[in-house]
Amino acid sequence: MSQATRSSAPPSLWTIIVMMSLILYVPLIWLAWGSFHELQSDGKWVFTLRWYGELWGDQLVWQSLSNSFYVAFISSCISTFLGAIVGLSMTQESIWQKKFIQVSTSISLALPEIVFSISLLLFFFILNIPLSLNTVILAHALFSFAFVAMTVTARCCLFDQAQVEAARDLGANDTQIILKIILPFLSPALFTGWVLSFLISFDDFLLAFFLNGIGSDTWPVKLYSAMRAGLSPKLNALTSCMMLISMVILLSFFYLRFRKGKEAT
């Protein structure tokens, strides 16, 4: 009965949802469809796996993908390590540092990414550091640190100082307290932070575009430069694969979180 008394919204608003879903999904579906088809000279589309075959044989694509994985892995490890340190100091009493981390986090989140990349480019130029994958790693670690710090800060609000005092009363030393109490307490936040920074780094275009060296393209940069040269069905195959991968990762991530949330309640 409660469902029946639910009020209605203007029915015309449904067109918004329908229209937006069409605009959002139809190009993506067309892309995936096009990656399996070839346009014949008589204007007919014929099914083919040719583009995937060409993609499989393309050394440069594999190179850029492995670059991306490498960058994402190292940079997310760095930012998670720094996030762990932040967590350590936040579970102690150090208001000053808390404030500092908060300010710098909000700066790096609010700053347009383009200004962020320009300033790093300038920085590397002045210090005479040649651009390479390492500079991209550094930039990504710096950028995703803000997200790790956010998850860690949120977790640290729940920390109970009494645990540490109890452990100390029982004769635990500093190392034991950190290994047995603080790190296990922080680990969910650190894990979420690690996954987030991996995804951010793997997905990022602008920082890599500015800061990569010659021949060290990550895959979004590679795709961008291939696109500048012109659209080709091989790119359809590449983008469809990447789309599928990110869809699967995202859906499983959300599914896991959703299930965990359900168990908690």
């Binding site: 919204a9 892309l31 100091s89 710098s104 869809m247």
Partner: protein, 274 residues
């Protein structure tokens, strides 16, 4: 615990060195000068700001503000409608629809733009649809026009408006709407007397959350806009990577930062009022 907390200085040093120092350098550079042979001449002057405040730059800046404004406005109107609809469906369906609508925005931006460009391009279905409806179009401008940029903005930043607004809708007491409808209020009256007074501040928030990132956007106008529609972000990239006039680019980015800071302080004020 003293020994371990010392480690946290590492993060402070890291942030000072890699976040604060580059920004300070950028500020310093904006007061330097372009050297005769293309390098940087570190003498204090305001030449760049004089050059930055030229008519062409102002036009580009104004156009980015216009486009960002339009995109933000459309996004917040669309999300308002969507949230209203969502509040009337079953609650376990809401999250699913929300996820369905936000999922494409999480796919890499280049892929999304590529898909859009592929769709409207000469081999795609869009020209054929236009032919079928006998709408005249310019085949040269199919894959590169300002409207496409606007669509790109909306598709990319829509969740930024949708999710916070949805959160405010959920917090609102929706029984008020039901009561009003029981009292024979029509949709316009419900909107004017119940939804709008409670949701105008969250609406402004979601407007700004779209407006701010659109202001300095580079990739979307670069891929979908063609040569004619230059955004402020494109201008910056142009100055830094193409014409290599770094000091001028630095002063332009300081102007962008100021614009963003102003919009953010609006946003902060707005949040506090909520």
């Amino acid at each position: 615990m003293i020994k371990w907390t010392k480690l946290s200085w590492l993060t402070v040093v890291w942030l000072l060195f890699f976040l604060a120092l580059p920004l300070l350098l950028l500020v310093a550079l904006s007061f330097a000068q372009k050297g005769v042979y293309g390098g940087i001449d570190w003498t204090l002057n305001f030449v760049n700001y004089n050059r930055a405040f030229s008519w062409t730059h102002f036009r580009i800046f104004w156009r980015s503000v216009e486009w960002a404004f339009l995109a933000a406005l459309i996004c917040s109107v669309l999300s308002f409608g969507t949230c209203w609809i969502l509040m009337t469906v079953r609650s376990n369906l809401r999250v699913t629809i929300l996820g369905f609508l936000c999922l494409p925005a999480l796919i890499n931006v280049i892929i999304r733009l590529y898909a859009l460009k592929n769709f409207v391009g000469t081999n795609g279905p869009w020209p054929q649809i236009l032919d079928l409806l006998s709408i005249p179009y310019d085949p040269q401008a199919l894959t590169a026009n300002p409207y496409l940029v606007l669509i790109g903005f909306i598709l990319s930043y829509w969740p930024w408006a949708l999710l916070p607004l949805y959160a405010s809708f959920e917090r609102m007491d929706f029984a008020l709407v039901e009561a009003a409808q029981d009292l024979r209020a029509n949709f316009l009256q419900v909107f004017r007397h119940i939804l709008w007074p409670q949701l105008k501040l969250p609406c402004l928030s979601s407007f700004l959350l779209v407006f701010i990132p659109c202001l300095g956007e580079f990739v979307i106008p670069d891929i979908l806009g063609g040569a004619k529609s230059m955004n402020f972000g494109n201008l910056l990239v142009d100055k830094f990577l193409k014409s290599r006039d770094w000091p001028l680019g630095a002063s332009l980015s300081i102007i962008l930062i100021i614009g963003v800071v102003i919009s953010f302080s609006f946003q902060k004020m707005n949040e506090e009022r909520q």
